[in-house]
Assembly symmetry: C2
Homo-oligomer: 162 residues x 2
Protein backbone atom coordinates (compact mmCIF):
# COMPACT_ATOMS: atom_id res chain seq x y z
CA UNK A 1 0.00 0.00 0.00
CA UNK A 2 1.20 3.47 -0.90
CA UNK A 3 -0.21 6.79 0.28
CA UNK A 4 0.25 9.75 -2.03
CA UNK A 5 -1.24 13.17 -2.64
CA UNK A 6 -4.54 12.92 -4.51
CA UNK A 7 -4.76 14.24 -8.06
CA UNK A 8 -7.86 15.45 -9.79
CA UNK A 9 -8.31 12.21 -11.77
CA UNK A 10 -8.57 10.21 -8.53
CA UNK A 11 -12.01 11.63 -7.86
CA UNK A 12 -13.58 9.26 -10.41
CA UNK A 13 -12.45 6.32 -8.26
CA UNK A 14 -13.21 7.98 -4.92
CA UNK A 15 -16.76 9.08 -5.72
CA UNK A 16 -18.44 5.61 -5.75
CA UNK A 17 -17.41 4.70 -2.20
CA UNK A 18 -17.50 8.32 -0.98
CA UNK A 19 -21.09 8.49 -2.21
CA UNK A 20 -22.02 5.17 -0.59
CA UNK A 21 -20.54 6.24 2.76
CA UNK A 22 -22.18 9.67 2.72
CA UNK A 23 -25.57 8.34 1.56
CA UNK A 24 -25.53 5.71 4.33
CA UNK A 25 -25.51 8.68 6.71
CA UNK A 26 -24.20 6.79 9.73
CA UNK A 27 -20.66 8.17 10.07
CA UNK A 28 -20.41 11.65 8.51
CA UNK A 29 -22.47 14.76 9.23
CA UNK A 30 -22.50 15.64 5.55
CA UNK A 31 -25.66 16.30 3.51
CA UNK A 32 -26.75 12.77 2.63
CA UNK A 33 -27.91 13.93 -0.81
CA UNK A 34 -24.59 15.47 -1.89
CA UNK A 35 -24.15 15.67 -5.65
CA UNK A 36 -20.92 14.49 -7.22
CA UNK A 37 -19.84 18.10 -7.79
CA UNK A 38 -20.51 19.09 -4.19
CA UNK A 39 -18.70 15.99 -2.99
CA UNK A 40 -15.67 16.82 -5.08
CA UNK A 41 -15.58 20.37 -3.79
CA UNK A 42 -15.88 19.14 -0.21
CA UNK A 43 -13.26 16.43 -0.43
CA UNK A 44 -10.65 17.34 -3.06
CA UNK A 45 -8.75 20.15 -1.35
CA UNK A 46 -5.98 22.41 -2.60
CA UNK A 47 -2.92 23.69 -0.77
CA UNK A 48 -2.51 24.61 2.02
CA UNK A 49 -5.17 21.97 2.63
CA UNK A 50 -4.32 18.45 1.55
CA UNK A 51 -6.07 15.37 0.18
CA UNK A 52 -4.36 11.98 -0.05
CA UNK A 53 -5.23 8.53 -1.36
CA UNK A 54 -4.11 5.05 -0.34
CA UNK A 55 -3.46 2.87 -3.38
CA UNK A 56 -2.57 -0.80 -3.77
CA UNK A 57 0.20 -2.31 -5.90
CA UNK A 58 -1.94 -2.03 -9.03
CA UNK A 59 -2.71 1.62 -8.35
CA UNK A 60 -6.30 1.01 -7.32
CA UNK A 61 -7.63 3.41 -4.67
CA UNK A 62 -8.38 1.83 -1.29
CA UNK A 63 -9.22 4.91 0.72
CA UNK A 64 -8.69 8.63 1.08
CA UNK A 65 -8.02 11.28 3.69
CA UNK A 66 -8.03 15.03 3.84
CA UNK A 67 -6.53 17.44 6.34
CA UNK A 68 -6.56 21.17 6.97
CA UNK A 69 -6.49 23.81 9.71
CA UNK A 70 -9.47 23.24 12.00
CA UNK A 71 -9.96 26.99 12.50
CA UNK A 72 -8.56 30.22 11.06
CA UNK A 73 -6.75 32.92 12.98
CA UNK A 74 -5.56 32.09 16.48
CA UNK A 75 -6.88 28.54 16.19
CA UNK A 76 -4.97 27.72 13.00
CA UNK A 77 -2.26 25.67 14.75
CA UNK A 78 -4.69 22.75 15.22
CA UNK A 79 -5.43 20.50 12.25
CA UNK A 80 -8.47 18.42 11.54
CA UNK A 81 -8.77 15.46 9.20
CA UNK A 82 -11.31 13.07 7.69
CA UNK A 83 -10.89 9.55 6.38
CA UNK A 84 -12.87 7.25 4.12
CA UNK A 85 -12.01 3.65 3.28
CA UNK A 86 -13.68 1.85 0.40
CA UNK A 87 -15.88 -0.68 2.26
CA UNK A 88 -14.85 -3.35 -0.27
CA UNK A 89 -11.23 -2.78 0.89
CA UNK A 90 -11.73 -2.72 4.63
CA UNK A 91 -9.83 -4.96 7.03
CA UNK A 92 -6.45 -4.34 5.41
CA UNK A 93 -5.25 -1.56 7.69
CA UNK A 94 -6.10 1.16 5.19
CA UNK A 95 -7.75 3.38 7.80
CA UNK A 96 -4.83 3.04 10.19
CA UNK A 97 -2.34 3.84 7.43
CA UNK A 98 -4.33 6.94 6.47
CA UNK A 99 -4.47 8.21 10.06
CA UNK A 100 -0.73 7.61 10.47
CA UNK A 101 -0.08 9.48 7.23
CA UNK A 102 -2.18 12.41 8.45
CA UNK A 103 -0.21 12.52 11.71
CA UNK A 104 3.01 12.78 9.73
CA UNK A 105 1.69 15.24 7.18
CA UNK A 106 0.17 17.61 9.73
CA UNK A 107 3.26 17.46 11.95
CA UNK A 108 5.46 18.29 8.97
CA UNK A 109 3.10 21.13 8.05
CA UNK A 110 3.73 22.66 11.48
CA UNK A 111 0.45 21.88 13.23
CA UNK A 112 0.63 21.27 16.99
CA UNK A 113 -2.29 18.83 17.30
CA UNK A 114 -5.12 17.15 15.40
CA UNK A 115 -8.72 17.52 16.50
CA UNK A 116 -11.71 15.55 15.22
CA UNK A 117 -14.88 17.55 15.74
CA UNK A 118 -17.58 14.96 15.14
CA UNK A 119 -16.81 11.28 15.65
CA UNK A 120 -20.11 9.40 15.80
CA UNK A 121 -20.14 7.38 19.04
CA UNK A 122 -21.64 4.34 17.31
CA UNK A 123 -18.71 4.32 14.86
CA UNK A 124 -16.88 2.17 17.39
CA UNK A 125 -14.32 0.94 14.89
CA UNK A 126 -13.17 4.51 14.21
CA UNK A 127 -13.16 5.52 17.89
CA UNK A 128 -11.00 2.48 18.75
CA UNK A 129 -8.66 3.09 15.84
CA UNK A 130 -8.14 6.73 16.85
CA UNK A 131 -7.61 5.78 20.50
CA UNK A 132 -5.07 3.14 19.51
CA UNK A 133 -3.15 5.90 17.73
CA UNK A 134 -3.06 8.18 20.75
CA UNK A 135 -6.22 10.24 20.31
CA UNK A 136 -8.29 10.96 23.41
CA UNK A 137 -11.96 11.86 23.70
CA UNK A 138 -11.86 15.42 25.07
CA UNK A 139 -15.57 16.07 24.79
CA UNK A 140 -18.89 14.48 23.93
CA UNK A 141 -21.91 16.35 22.60
CA UNK A 142 -25.08 14.45 23.52
CA UNK A 143 -27.59 13.55 20.80
CA UNK A 144 -25.74 15.63 18.22
CA UNK A 145 -26.08 13.11 15.36
CA UNK A 146 -29.31 11.70 14.01
CA UNK A 147 -28.25 8.16 13.17
CA UNK A 148 -30.47 6.52 10.54
CA UNK A 149 -31.11 3.41 12.67
CA UNK A 150 -29.89 4.30 16.20
CA UNK A 151 -31.64 7.65 16.49
CA UNK A 152 -29.95 10.54 18.29
CA UNK A 153 -26.43 9.54 19.29
CA UNK A 154 -23.48 11.52 20.61
CA UNK A 155 -20.58 13.06 18.72
CA UNK A 156 -17.14 12.83 20.27
CA UNK A 157 -14.46 15.48 19.99
CA UNK A 158 -11.10 13.69 19.82
CA UNK A 159 -7.63 15.18 20.12
CA UNK A 160 -3.99 14.20 19.85
CA UNK A 161 -0.91 16.34 20.24
CA UNK A 162 1.71 16.10 17.49
CA UNK B 1 -33.36 47.44 24.48
CA UNK B 2 -34.89 45.75 21.45
CA UNK B 3 -33.54 42.78 19.53
CA UNK B 4 -34.50 42.54 15.88
CA UNK B 5 -33.33 40.85 12.70
CA UNK B 6 -30.32 42.63 11.22
CA UNK B 7 -30.67 44.44 7.92
CA UNK B 8 -27.91 45.15 5.45
CA UNK B 9 -27.54 48.80 6.55
CA UNK B 10 -26.71 47.69 10.11
CA UNK B 11 -23.30 46.46 9.02
CA UNK B 12 -21.96 50.04 8.92
CA UNK B 13 -22.58 50.29 12.67
CA UNK B 14 -21.48 46.75 13.48
CA UNK B 15 -18.16 46.84 11.65
CA UNK B 16 -16.27 49.25 13.99
CA UNK B 17 -16.76 47.10 17.11
CA UNK B 18 -16.72 43.83 15.15
CA UNK B 19 -13.35 44.86 13.76
CA UNK B 20 -12.01 45.89 17.15
CA UNK B 21 -13.07 42.58 18.71
CA UNK B 22 -11.66 40.45 15.88
CA UNK B 23 -8.40 42.42 15.67
CA UNK B 24 -7.89 42.05 19.44
CA UNK B 25 -7.76 38.31 18.75
CA UNK B 26 -8.51 37.21 22.30
CA UNK B 27 -12.06 35.83 21.97
CA UNK B 28 -12.74 34.69 18.38
CA UNK B 29 -10.80 32.23 16.21
CA UNK B 30 -11.34 34.42 13.16
CA UNK B 31 -8.55 35.70 10.93
CA UNK B 32 -7.36 38.77 12.87
CA UNK B 33 -6.75 40.67 9.63
CA UNK B 34 -10.28 40.25 8.22
CA UNK B 35 -11.26 42.91 5.72
CA UNK B 36 -14.59 44.68 6.04
CA UNK B 37 -15.97 42.67 3.11
CA UNK B 38 -14.87 39.35 4.59
CA UNK B 39 -16.30 40.36 7.94
CA UNK B 40 -19.63 41.22 6.40
CA UNK B 41 -19.77 37.89 4.56
CA UNK B 42 -18.90 36.03 7.75
CA UNK B 43 -21.35 37.81 10.02
CA UNK B 44 -24.35 39.02 8.00
CA UNK B 45 -26.16 35.78 7.26
CA UNK B 46 -29.22 35.05 5.12
CA UNK B 47 -32.08 32.63 5.78
CA UNK B 48 -32.15 29.91 6.94
CA UNK B 49 -29.27 31.36 8.95
CA UNK B 50 -30.05 34.44 11.01
CA UNK B 51 -28.30 37.60 12.20
CA UNK B 52 -29.81 39.88 14.84
CA UNK B 53 -28.92 43.19 16.46
CA UNK B 54 -29.66 44.64 19.89
CA UNK B 55 -30.59 48.33 19.67
CA UNK B 56 -31.30 50.96 22.28
CA UNK B 57 -34.22 53.38 22.41
CA UNK B 58 -32.56 55.70 19.90
CA UNK B 59 -31.94 52.83 17.49
CA UNK B 60 -28.21 52.67 18.13
CA UNK B 61 -26.69 49.20 17.84
CA UNK B 62 -25.37 47.75 21.11
CA UNK B 63 -24.46 44.26 19.97
CA UNK B 64 -25.17 41.52 17.48
CA UNK B 65 -25.62 37.76 17.27
CA UNK B 66 -25.84 35.20 14.55
CA UNK B 67 -27.13 31.62 14.55
CA UNK B 68 -27.25 28.70 12.15
CA UNK B 69 -27.10 24.91 11.94
CA UNK B 70 -23.81 23.75 13.45
CA UNK B 71 -23.48 20.95 10.88
CA UNK B 72 -25.27 19.83 7.71
CA UNK B 73 -26.98 16.48 7.18
CA UNK B 74 -27.61 14.33 10.22
CA UNK B 75 -26.12 16.97 12.51
CA UNK B 76 -28.40 19.78 11.35
CA UNK B 77 -30.70 19.64 14.39
CA UNK B 78 -28.05 21.35 16.56
CA UNK B 79 -27.59 25.11 16.22
CA UNK B 80 -24.56 27.21 16.91
CA UNK B 81 -24.40 30.93 17.59
CA UNK B 82 -21.94 33.78 18.05
CA UNK B 83 -22.31 37.07 19.91
CA UNK B 84 -20.53 40.41 19.91
CA UNK B 85 -21.26 43.34 22.18
CA UNK B 86 -19.90 46.79 21.46
CA UNK B 87 -17.31 47.19 24.24
CA UNK B 88 -18.52 50.78 24.75
CA UNK B 89 -21.96 49.32 25.57
CA UNK B 90 -20.95 46.50 27.89
CA UNK B 91 -22.35 46.05 31.38
CA UNK B 92 -25.97 46.64 30.33
CA UNK B 93 -27.00 43.03 29.89
CA UNK B 94 -26.69 43.16 26.10
CA UNK B 95 -24.84 39.85 25.89
CA UNK B 96 -27.37 38.10 28.11
CA UNK B 97 -30.25 39.48 26.06
CA UNK B 98 -28.62 38.30 22.83
CA UNK B 99 -28.06 34.78 24.18
CA UNK B 100 -31.66 34.62 25.42
CA UNK B 101 -32.87 35.80 22.02
CA UNK B 102 -30.82 33.09 20.30
CA UNK B 103 -32.32 30.44 22.58
CA UNK B 104 -35.79 31.56 21.58
CA UNK B 105 -35.00 31.93 17.89
CA UNK B 106 -33.28 28.55 17.54
CA UNK B 107 -36.03 26.79 19.52
CA UNK B 108 -38.68 28.35 17.27
CA UNK B 109 -36.64 27.31 14.22
CA UNK B 110 -36.88 23.71 15.36
CA UNK B 111 -33.35 23.10 16.64
CA UNK B 112 -32.97 20.68 19.54
CA UNK B 113 -29.89 22.22 21.17
CA UNK B 114 -27.25 24.93 20.82
CA UNK B 115 -23.56 24.09 20.75
CA UNK B 116 -20.67 26.53 20.98
CA UNK B 117 -17.58 25.03 19.37
CA UNK B 118 -14.84 27.35 20.56
CA UNK B 119 -15.29 29.33 23.77
CA UNK B 120 -11.89 30.66 24.81
CA UNK B 121 -11.28 29.56 28.42
CA UNK B 122 -9.85 32.94 29.38
CA UNK B 123 -13.07 34.62 28.23
CA UNK B 124 -14.40 34.02 31.72
CA UNK B 125 -17.18 36.54 31.39
CA UNK B 126 -18.67 34.64 28.44
CA UNK B 127 -18.22 31.21 30.04
CA UNK B 128 -20.04 32.42 33.19
CA UNK B 129 -22.80 34.06 31.18
CA UNK B 130 -23.40 30.88 29.16
CA UNK B 131 -23.35 28.73 32.30
CA UNK B 132 -25.83 31.04 34.01
CA UNK B 133 -28.16 30.44 31.06
CA UNK B 134 -27.97 26.67 31.29
CA UNK B 135 -25.04 25.85 29.03
CA UNK B 136 -22.61 23.19 30.19
CA UNK B 137 -19.01 22.62 29.20
CA UNK B 138 -19.14 19.23 27.42
CA UNK B 139 -15.55 19.25 26.25
CA UNK B 140 -12.28 21.13 26.41
CA UNK B 141 -9.59 21.11 23.74
CA UNK B 142 -6.22 21.87 25.31
CA UNK B 143 -4.05 24.66 23.89
CA UNK B 144 -6.38 25.12 20.92
CA UNK B 145 -6.29 28.93 20.92
CA UNK B 146 -3.18 31.08 20.66
CA UNK B 147 -4.14 33.98 22.92
CA UNK B 148 -2.19 37.18 22.15
CA UNK B 149 -1.07 37.65 25.77
CA UNK B 150 -1.83 34.35 27.56
CA UNK B 151 -0.29 32.02 24.98
CA UNK B 152 -1.88 28.67 24.21
CA UNK B 153 -5.15 28.35 26.10
CA UNK B 154 -8.01 25.87 25.87
CA UNK B 155 -11.24 26.10 23.89
CA UNK B 156 -14.43 24.87 25.54
CA UNK B 157 -17.28 23.17 23.74
CA UNK B 158 -20.50 24.26 25.44
CA UNK B 159 -23.99 22.85 24.98
CA UNK B 160 -27.56 23.45 26.06
CA UNK B 161 -30.70 21.55 25.12
CA UNK B 162 -33.64 23.62 23.90
Amino acid sequence: MLIREAVSEDWRSIWPFFHAIVAAGDTFAYPTDLTEGQGRELWMLSAPKHTAVAVDESGEILGTANMYANRPGNGAHIASASYMVDPRRSGRGVGRALVEYSLEWTRAAGFRAIQFNAVVETNVHAVRLYESLGFKIVGTVPEAFNHPTEGYVALHIMHRSL
